[in-house]
C-alpha cells in the first residue's frame, strides 16, 4: 500500500513536471514570440513581414497542436511506466 502511494505520488510529480515544461513552451510561443518579443524578432523576415507576426497568426497554433500530442504521448508512457493505465 505504501509503495502504491509513493508510486502514485511520483507519477503525479512527473505529470506536473511535464505540464510545467509544456506550458513554458506554450507561453513562450504565444506571449513571447508573438507579442512581447516581436520587436526583437523584427529583423527576421517572413514573407513580407516578420517572424513575430508569423508566430501570432500561424506558428503559435501549430506549436499548440504539437504540444498537446506530445503531452498525450508522454502521458501514455507515464501511465504504463507507473502501471496506472486503464
Amino acid at each position: 500500500m505504501a509503495d502504491d502511494k509513493s508510486n502514485a505520488a511520483e507519477y503525479w510529480k512527473a505529470n506536473v513536471r511535464l505540464i510545467f515544461g509544456c506550458l513554458i513552451v506554450w507561453a513562450f510561443v504565444s506571449y513571447g514570440c508573438a507579442i512581447l518579443f516581436r520587436p526583437l524578432l523584427a529583423g527576421i523576415p517572413v514573407g513580407g513581414t516578420d517572424l513575430g507576426f508569423w508566430f501570432a497568426q500561424q506558428g503559435s497554433i501549430l506549436t499548440f497542436i504539437v504540444l498537446i500530442f506530445f503531452y498525450a504521448w508522454r502521458m501514455n508512457k507515464l501511465d504504463k511506466k507507473y502501471g496506472l493505465e486503464e
Binding site: N15, A34, I35, G47, F53, F64, I68, L84
Partner: protein, 593 residues
C-alpha cells in the same frame, strides 16, 4: 438553376442529413442524453468538439476581425486555440476520470457543497445563454441572406431544426450531427479560400499563400497590403501593438475562458478513456486549426481584394500610391456582388464629394488635398467570408455551400450550448439538488423538457436581443475564465482546497470581473449607465474590460488560497477523491450517482 434554388438545395440537403442522423442516434438513457453513452471515438469527438467550438462568430466574423484589425486581432487566433492546450493538460483528462455528467457535478462534489454547485450552475447558465443568443442571431442572418426569408422566420427555422435533433438525440444526436456539421463548414470555408489564394499568389494553400508573393505586383502579399492600406490612411496591417500588457491579458482571458466553457468541457466526458480525452483534445485542435490557420489568409486576401476593387490601379506594381489613390472606381461601375450586398445594407455608399467615385479611406486622416471630403464607403466586417465566393467569381454552388456552412457553424454551437444549459437544469438542479429520488425515466423527461425550454428561451432572446447579447467575449469568456476555470483547476491540483476557499474564490472572481465590465460597458449592459467612458485612458493600467477575465482568474486563485488556508482542510474522502481523479486507472465509463 437560380442562386436561390441552389442555396435551398444545399441548405435543405444538409438539414435532411442532420435529421436523418437524429433519427438514427436517438438517446435511450440519461447516459446517452448527457454523454452520448460514453463511447465516442477520440477522433470523432475531436471533430464534434471543433464544430461545437466554431460558432457563427468563428465562421463568419473571425476573418473580418482579422481583415480590419490585422496583427492586433491575432489575439483571437491565439486565445481561441491556446485554450485547448490548458484544457488538455489541466482539466479534460481529470474531469473525464471523475466520470460524472456535468461541470457543476464536479464542483459540487469536489467542494462538498451545494452552494458551490449552485454558483457553478449560475455561472454556466449566464455564460451559455449569452453565447447562444449570438448563434441564434447568426443563423437568422445566414437564413435571411441566403434563403430570402425574414430574420424572424430564419431564427424560428433554426430553433426547429435544433429542437428536432437535440431534444430527441441529446448529446448522442448532437455529437453525430456535429461531425456532419464540421465537414460541411470546413469544406465551405476552405474551397473559396483555396481559389482566392491561388488567384492572388499562385499558391493554392491559403496559409502559405498569405506569406507568398502577390502575383500581380510581384511583391510579398502582406507588404502589398501594408502599402495599399497605408496609402489610404489606415494603420499598417502588420503594425505592432503599443499596449502589450492588454494584448497579453486579452489573449490569456480568451484562453482560460475557452478552457472553462462548460459546453466545450462536457464534450470530453463522451470518450471511453482518460487517455482518449488527451488525444481527443489534440484532434479537436487539429480540426479547429484547419479553419483558424486559413482565417488569417482569408482576412488579409479579402481586405486586399476589397481595396483593389475600389482602387484598381493599386493592384499592380505601383510607383506612386498617391496618384493611384486618385482614381477609385466609378460608383456606376461597381461589381455585381457589391450591388447584392448593398441590398442587405451591409455595404453602404454615400457620395460625399459628389464626384461619382468611391472614396474609401480612413476618415481620421486629412486628404482634402486629394479633393476628398470624407470616407464614402462602409463595409460590415461580417460580409467578407460570405461575399468571398462572389468576389472571386466562383460558381453558384460554392455560394450554396457557404450558406450551408454558416448555418452549420451556428447550429452546431447552439446545440452544444443548449445541452450544457439543459443538463445543468435537469441533472444538477432537479436531480441533484431538488429531487434526488427522481427516476431515470423522470430525469430523461426533465432533460427533454429543459432542452425544449432552453431552445424557446434562446429563440426569444435571439428575436429580442437584450443589451448583453453583443457581449459574448466579455461576459461568457470573462465568467468562464474568472470563475469556473480556476475552481476546476484548484479542485484537481490542490488537495488542500476546501469548500469555503472555492466558493469565496469563485464569487470574488465573478464579482470583480462583472464590476469591471459594468463600469465601462454599462451596469447590466444598459446603454448610458457606464460609470466611466470605455476609452483606453480610463482603463486601469490600460486593461480593457474584455481583457479582465485573466485578472479575475488571478483574484479567484488568490482569494481561494487565502480563505482556504485559514479554514478547515477538506474531509478525508474528498482528499481521496482528488487523488483518484489524478490517476487514469479504474475510470470506466461516465456514471450516474
Amino acid at each position: 438553376m437560380s442562386q436561390f434554388a441552389i442555396n435551398l438545395l444545399f441548405v435543405g440537403a444538409s438539414f435532411a442529413l442532420y435529421i436523418g442522423i437524429a433519427i438514427w442516434a436517438r438517446a435511450g438513457s440519461t447516459k446517452d442524453f448527457y454523454v452520448a453513452g460514453g463511447g465516442v471515438h477520440p477522433i470523432t469527438n475531436g471533430m464534434a468538439t471543433a464544430a461545437d467550438w466554431m460558432s457563427a462568430a468563428s465562421f463568419i466574423s473571425m476573418a473580418g476581425l482579422l481583415a480590419s484589425g490585422g496583427y492586433a486581432n491575432s489575439t483571437f487566433l491565439m486565445g481561441w486555440t491556446g485554450g485547448y492546450v490548458i484544457l488538455a493538460m489541466l482539466l479534460a483528462p481529470y474531469l473525464r476520470k471523475f466520470g460524472k455528467f456535468t461541470v457543476p457535478d464536479f464542483i459540487g462534489d469536489r467542494f462538498y457543497s451545494n452552494t458551490a454547485r449552485f454558483v457553478a450552475i449560475v455561472c454556466l447558465i449566464i455564460a451559455s445563454v449569452t453565447y447562444v443568443i449570438g448563434q441564434m442571431t447568426g443563423a437568422g442572418v445566414a437564413f435571411s441572406r441566403f434563403l430570402e426569408v425574414s430574420n424572424t422566420w430564419g431564427i424560428w427555422l433554426a430553433a426547429l431544426i435544433v429542437f428536432l435533433y437535440a431534444v430527441f438525440g441529446g448529446m448522442k444526436g448532437i455529437t453525430y450531427t456535429q461531425v456532419a456539421q464540421y465537414i460541411v463548414l470546413i469544406v465551405a470555408y476552405t474551397i473559396p479560400a483555396v481559389f482566392i489564394a491561388f488567384q492572388l499568389t499562385g499558391n493554392p494553400i491559403p496559409m502559405f499563400g498569405m506569406f507568398s508573393t502577390h502575383t500581380e505586383s510581384g511583391i510579398p502579399l502582406l507588404q502589398k497590403l501594408d502599402d495599399v492600406v497605408s496609402a489610404l490612411g489606415f494603420q499598417d496591417y502588420t503594425a505592432d501593438v503599443d499596449n502589450k500588457l492588454n494584448m497579453v491579458l486579452f489573449t490569456l482571458s480568451l484562453m482560460v475562458g475557452t478552457a472553462g466553457l462548460p459546453h466545450v468541457i462536457i464534450r470530453f466526458f463522451t470518450v471511453p478513456k482518460v487517455a482518449d480525452a488527451r488525444w481527443s483534445a489534440g484532434w479537436a485542435l487539429v480540426f479547429i486549426a484547419l479553419l483558424y490557420l486559413t482565417a488569417p489568409a482569408v482576412g488579409s486576401m479579402a481586405r486586399l481584394n476589397l481595396m483593389t476593387t475600389v482602387y484598381p490601379e493599386m493592384a499592380g506594381q505601383v510607383e506612386n500610391y498617391d496618384e493611384a489613390a486618385q482614381n477609385p472606381i466609378l460608383y456606376e461601375e461597381r461589381p455585381e456582388w457589391f450591388r447584392t450586398w448593398e441590398d442587405t445594407g451591409l455595404i453602404t455608399f454615400n457620395d460625399v464629394n459628389n464626384d461619382g467615385r468611391i472614396q474609401f479611406y480612413n476618415d481620421a486622416t486629412d486628404y482634402t488635398d486629394r479633393g476628398w471630403e470624407g470616407n464614402e464607403l462602409t463595409v460590415n466586417n461580417d460580409i467578407l467570408v460570405l461575399a468571398n465566393p462572389e468576389i472571386a467569381n466562383l460558381p453558384g454552388w460554392v455560394i450554396g455551400l457557404i450558406a450551408a456552412g454558416g448555418i452549420a457553424a451556428a447550429l452546431s454551437t447552439a446545440a452544444g450550448l443548449l445541452l450544457a444549459i439543459s443538463s445543468a437544469i435537469s441533472h444538477d438542479l432537479i436531480k441533484t439538488m431538488i429531487n434526488p429520488k427522481i427516476s431515470e425515466k423522470g430525469e430523461m423527461l426533465a432533460a427533454r423538457i429543459s432542452m425544449g425550454g432552453a431552445i424557446l428561451l434562446a429563440t426569444y432572446l435571439g428575436l429580442n436581443p437584450p443589451g448583453f447579447a453583443a457581449q459574448t467575449v466579455a461576459l461568457a469568456f470573462g465568467i468562464a475564465g474568472a470563475s469556473l476555470f480556476p475552481a476546476l483547476m484548484m479542485g484537481i491540483f490542490s488537495t488542500r482546497m476546501n469548500n469555503m476557499g472555492a466558493i469565496a474564490g469563485m464569487l470574488a472572481g465573478l464579482i470583480c470581473t462583472l464590476l469591471y465590465i459594468f463600469t465601462y460597458l454599462g451596469w447590466f449592459f444598459i446603454p448610458g449607465t457606464n460609470t466611466l467612458a470605455n476609452t483606453p485612458d480610463n482603463w486601469i493600467l490600460g486593461i480593457s474590460p474584455l481583457s479582465f477575465g485573466a485578472v479575475g482568474a488571478m483574484i479567484n486563485f488568490a482569494v481561494a488560497f487565502a480563505v482556504s488556508s485559514v479554514t478547515a482542510a477538506p474531509p478525508r474522502e474528498i482528499q481521496e477523491l482528488v487523488e483518484s481523479v489524478r490517476y487514469p486507472k479504474g475510470a470506466g465509463a461516465a456514471v450516474d450517482h
